[in-house]
Symmetry: C2
Subunit: 214 residues, 2 copies
DNA sequence: AAATGATTGTGAAATGAGTAACAAAAATAA
DNA sequence: TTATTTTTGTTACTCATTTCACAATCATTT
């Protein structure tokens, strides 16, 4: 498989490239150069070319890249053309926002069900997604589920992740502000909005200082 | 100022360190070694020690770090002990979740007001935060505001950011799936949940392949 | 008070990512 | 057809970050 040598940093940019190509195809743009594409996503054109080169020669010299071809290639690379099913655990404020958002529109990805412990939520539908009881999670067969989105309070995130793992889920997108300790068979990505906001404020404070002192 | 030589990667870990120290202090732990702390946040202990070393000698050899002291130090470094005011633009599903969450509890950070274009929202309070009309944003004086959280639809993010910039806001936490083009005086952080989910699925697919082929 | 053990702080080495430079190739123009 | 322009793919280089290795230092035990 080609993809074994793809650097982590490159792999993390692919979804952005894919989404940007979708927009380009949608507005009827059939070709684009690495520099124009780079301007669009605010990444150096050399980085773009290098990223694509890990997958072979996707462009044509003197011409650029065919948007439709590149988009199709990335779709296959990212999803292997299969629908990825995910579950959401914790139907609170953030969980409800995510259910409403629905990732399916542009990606081969769907939240197929949700879990919560709140009896008043269990059995209801939130934005068309059924809410199941947390009790059933560990014993359910979720081996066809790619990933779980964790939007439970921090104190319950570890336990919830373990239950999901027991049901056959190996991927986790953790929105709660806590680190998960899971066996190496699991893969966790952590989206920490609080940290993002704090980091933003830190950089603002310190870049201002630099300007003042110069 | 010491902080001029702090690498970006280090600066981005500080908020996580700070929050973890808060938990440790809360449960009464008074000292911790870099390796125990590293286990907790899942970062190599050498990286932890090196990160702290950019700020001078914060620990004691043969002993470790004093949690209270380190926490206080990081609070001052991160916030300079001033309350950071932020605004939120776009009181929809995600915006409402963020307003409800309220970052103030653990950080010196507060969402002081919100903006939206929806007439049915303008003038109301959402989770205790007043919603202002978008019309007034560009002409408001927001020079005391550190950052704007952008939770408007992608098509409106650029315009909203420009208006906020005009009102004196220079920091942006952009949740919409689009790249912002702003002058160098602005600092933007992009939280793209769709990209996170796609990247997660990509890594799952490809690490599985590797396992199968080995 | 001396010996032992723990743990930091830090140069040096290794890894990884981003950037620059440019030959090769294809497209386009003359 | 030939010349010129465009733009890729890639090699070499630079920069940033992580990891290694270990002396220096402090805490703790005897
Ligand atoms: N709301 C935000 O904007 C925001 C921002 C950043 C981080 N977060 C984090 O996301 C997580 C959820 O935030 P929220 O604002 O949606 O909280 P919330 O309290 O609104 O929702 C939590 C939901 O999880 C359910 N729950 C509680 N314990 C559970 C368990 N053991 N198993 C299954 N479900 C359980 C609750 O019934 C509730 O529906 C928290 O960890 C929070 O820190 C939220
Ligand atoms: N909801 C999610 O979980 C989620 C997840 C990932 C990304 N996002 C992104 O976050 C953004 C908001 O998502 P959402 O689900 O909250 O959408 P939403 O439609 O629920 O809310 C959007 C809000 O913005 C307001 N708005 C629209 N145009 C505006 C303008 N020009 N100026 C000011 N306010 C304006 C609307 O009145 C509405 O209140 C979108 O860009 C979305 O792609 C959302």
């Amino acid at each position: 498989m080609v993809s074994q040598n793809v650097p982590q940093a490159t792999a993390e940019r692919l979804p952005l490239y894919y989404r940007t190509l979708q927009s380009l195809v949608a507005v009827g743009k059939t070709r684009i150069s690495s520099s124009e594409f780079g301007d669009l996503v605010q990444i150096d054109s050399t980085t773009i070319r290098k990223d694509f080169s890990y997958f072979g020669a996707l462009g044509r010299k003197g011409y650029g890249y065919d948007t439709q071809y590149l988009m199709d290639f990335l779709r296959k690379t990212l999803y292997q053309d299969e629908l990825s099913k995910v579950v959401l655990i914790g139907v609170g404020h953030l969980g409800t926002a995510l259910l409403n958002h629905n990732f399916q529109k542009n990606n081969n990805t769907k939240i197929v069900k949700a879990y919560d412990i709140d009896p008043s939520l269990i059995g209801t539908e939130v934005s068309g997604t059924e809410v199941h009881a947390m009790d059933t999670l560990a014993t359910d067969d979720n081996s066809d589920i790619t990933a779980a989105i964790l939007t439970v309070p921090a104190a319950h995130a570890q336990k919830a992740a373990e239950m999901a793992l027991a049901s056959g889920i190996h991927g986790f997108l953790n929105f709660s502000p806590t680190t998960l300790s899971l066996p190496a068979t699991a893969y966790v990505r952590h989206v920490d909005m609080t940290v993002e906001l704090q980091a933003l404020i830190y950089f603002l404070n310190h870049s201002m200082e630099e300007r003042n002192s110069q």
